[in-house]
Symmetry: C2
Subunit: 452 residues, 2 copies
């Protein structure tokens, strides 16, 4: 491939072709063994670089895989053989406007960096994927990322008021802006959020912010059965809106306890960590209501703290569950969600799938919104085990669809889950998706193989 | 036009062709004098009726204007000569699920009816257009309607989790569902919200609900100047998130006082009505902070009440401002919004436009989110006055665009504002909009003339 024209259109050093450097851009955290080798990586420094890259790629029909921090779990940034990986990691500016309570951020900034920048103004950007220290805000927008606070505060799309996005042919457009209300024309901003780089490349985001989150009360409860735990979850969400409501099963509890020695109940079948950020003493009041819901559901142990640091420690324990379980072996990380009343059916169904396929599956969940992360432990050196793990991976998605749920709550479809998408959406919605894709990317250069 | 095939495909009585009955479906509240006369009105009873109508219209290339309650203010439901008006007024079912905190509503239900149905379960559907007693939930979704609570609680799109929508060719599709998190495929649900019937006809909505709103504290403040009032607005929104923050100018104050005799300060240049729904005594605490912000900005009079009924009376007064000002003469109702720091420039600019064009313009506003409703009084019997009123109408939109704002915050573009849309969005975004429209409605039968 003749890259001279591309190199000439971009700042010095923006185009990487050294095979050693390309390796680091082949995979995201889905670690797809079938990842391709790109012809080049473009590390854009500004919107003009993104536009120049897409103009060139559009003219020459070269596939472009947009990439944020590469922390995606569905293979949305898996490189394509002979294509360009277009990285936004160097686009890292942010400005905060406390009066409109908005921030304008470039896509390469990490989620945690956005949170810190706005916190300096007493403000808060809520969405908080567990990977918030290492995932980019551009990737968050591309996947409509979620997190722990979503049960009360919603997901990324709820905080994106506007964006600059470069279309497939290299045309940059501005959509929306720092206005909470705007009914002028189609809701294009919202269409690009969650489009996983298949419709355009986001080069700037206008984010809605909230006042800094108040101190939270924390409730930790252990249960002897999954039934009791799911009953407590419904008891809590039926009464109030917790600011967090997380679930870990027995395997996750023990894996975390192995590493962190916090005194978690190793005999428990399930652990819930719930929080309230209601103002002042209302947080303690809400915590008390959650304590009672857990006790009513038959919790074996319930602990309640107003101490922010102690509460953070339990939240950190929950966030640490994925790496902790990973010590048992490489993970296939699921992301299925169901309407809340079906959560119990999902969790028990997953246990049956694990048993049937003779694989270890640990379930952790953003329980308050029905979004679970079954962690399928597998051994890549064992072909049979790996095959069974992948079978379980698919069966869990099938189960979620049967229960009226989704194959992905917050990670995106990427390449890993695209074979299941038609089962969830049906042929008519797939056709509708294809029509929009073809209208916006007629040559199919943008992230080919993702979603569709 | 041969309607036999259409009549045969629908239940008895669903197709109206009596000219006397058609008259009521020619206009919405924009009262467009150039409204067409439809060939027929279809009053659908179910999704199948909508699908049959669109299949027929698609085959015969007949324009279809979808219509909810007909309370739109931008002419989005203005009938087209020889077309079909497709009314959803008879589709009025709702089911509420307190566990997932969602409701599934048909489009013909009024916003107030949705609010009442969910309130029976202790739940709350926030979006509250001033017309909530007479606008339909389907129309709300089609225009991404707003209201008074949006300053804290967001707009319609923030509450639409899923929908059934019938595409231009008559294919019904289901998008999203009762899941707070769902990253499976493109964000199609959000694309259809605010599309004003140009991409499909919504036949069912899955709505996110909140726990019932707590009792509110209310602050009413009068100001001798617009500058002082806008300073108070920024003082309030810079400190906390009011559940409501409304503005009326002198003309509106006096028009309301003429009708309601509440003791409003007739000498004031501006009146703010602000509320807090923070839990328990925090509402009073937030109200106190708002009182101090108003005093600091130089309010001439500040009143504060914890009495819910009294607070509702002031909210009702603000809601009544439009009909009250209408007693001065027929209104051209504007809906421009700006980023909050430009609100003062917008309000003073509107006064200059009114003076220059020698017309009366009263400004009321959802001040907390920068969304204003300039009310242009005109006399249809006076051609010169009417021309000046329309000139002012356009100049106000031009001004909003210049200030980085929007020509419509919550009413939609419809037919009334479409000539200004390219000025706000620019040619590239218009072209993008056109590509999506053409992909989803290749024969252009859906609400032709609206938005585009």
């Amino acid at each position: 491939m003749d890259l001279h024209e591309l190199v000439a259109a971009l700042p010095e050093g923006a185009v990487l072709t050294d095979p050693d450097l390309l390796i680091g851009y082949r995979q995201d955290w889905a670690r797809d063994p079938g990842a391709g080798t790109p012809a080049a990586v473009v590390r854009a420094t500004c919107t003009a670089d993104v536009a120049a890259t897409l103009r060139w790629a559009h003219a020459h029909r070269v596939p472009v895989v947009p990439r944020g921090a590469g922390s995606g779990l569905s293979g949305g940034a898996t490189a394509v053989d002979g294509g360009i990986v277009l990285s936004t990691e160097r686009m890292r500016a942010i400005t905060v406007d406390p009066i409109t309570r908005t921030a304008v951020a470039q896509p390469g900034l990490l989620n945690a960096e956005v949170k810190r920048a706005v916190a300096e103004h007493g403000l808060w950007y809520p969405p908080d994927p567990s990977s918030f220290e290492m995932c980019s805000i551009g990737g968050n927008a591309a996947t409509n990322a979620g997190g722990l606070c979503c049960v009360k505060y919603g997901v990324t799309t709820d905080y994106v008021l506007g964006m600059e996005v470069v279309l497939a042919d290299g045309t940059p457009v501005r959509l929306g802006g720092p206005r909470l209300k705007d009914s002028a024309g189609l809701s294009l901003t919202k269409l690009f959020v969650g489009s996983e780089g298949t419709l355009g490349v986001i080069t700037e985001l206008t984010l809605r912010l909230l006042p800094a989150q108040p101190v939270q009360s924390t409730v930790v409860a252990s249960f002897a059965s999954l039934t009791a735990a799911t009953e407590a979850i419904l008891g809590i969400t039926g009464t109030l809106r917790p600011s967090m409501l997380e679930f870990m099963d027995s395997i996750a509890i023990n894996a975390v306890e192995d590493e962190m020695r916090m005194g978690l109940d190793r005999a428990a079948a399930a652990l819930l960590v719930a929080r309230s950020d209601a103002p002042g003493e209302f947080a303690a009041r809400e915590a008390q209501i959650m304590v009672e819901a857990c006790e009513k559901a038959g919790a074996t142990e319930v602990f309640h703290t107003e101490d922010a640091e102690e509460g953070e420690a339990f939240t950190a324990a929950r966030r640490f569950a994925i790496p902790a379980v990973e010590r048992l072996g490489p993970l296939l990380l699921e992301d299925v969600g169901v309407p809340l009343p079906r959560l119990g059916d999902l969790v028990t169904g997953i246990a049956a799938i694990a048993e049937r396929n003779d694989v270890t599956v640990s379930v952790i969940a953003h329980a308050g919104d029905g979004n679970t992360h079954p962690l399928i432990v597998h051994d890549p050196a064992d072909a049979d085990n790996t095959a069974r793990a992948h079978r379980a991976f698919g069966e869990i998605m099938d189960l979620a669809i049967t229960l009226g749920g989704t194959i992905t709550g917050e990670h995106g479809v990427g390449r890993l889950k695209k074979d299941w998408l038609p089962d969830q959406l049906g042929p008519d919605v797939m056709a509708l998706t294809r029509r929009i894709k073809d209208a916006l990317d007629p040559h199919g250069i943008l992230n080919p193989g993702a979603i569709l």
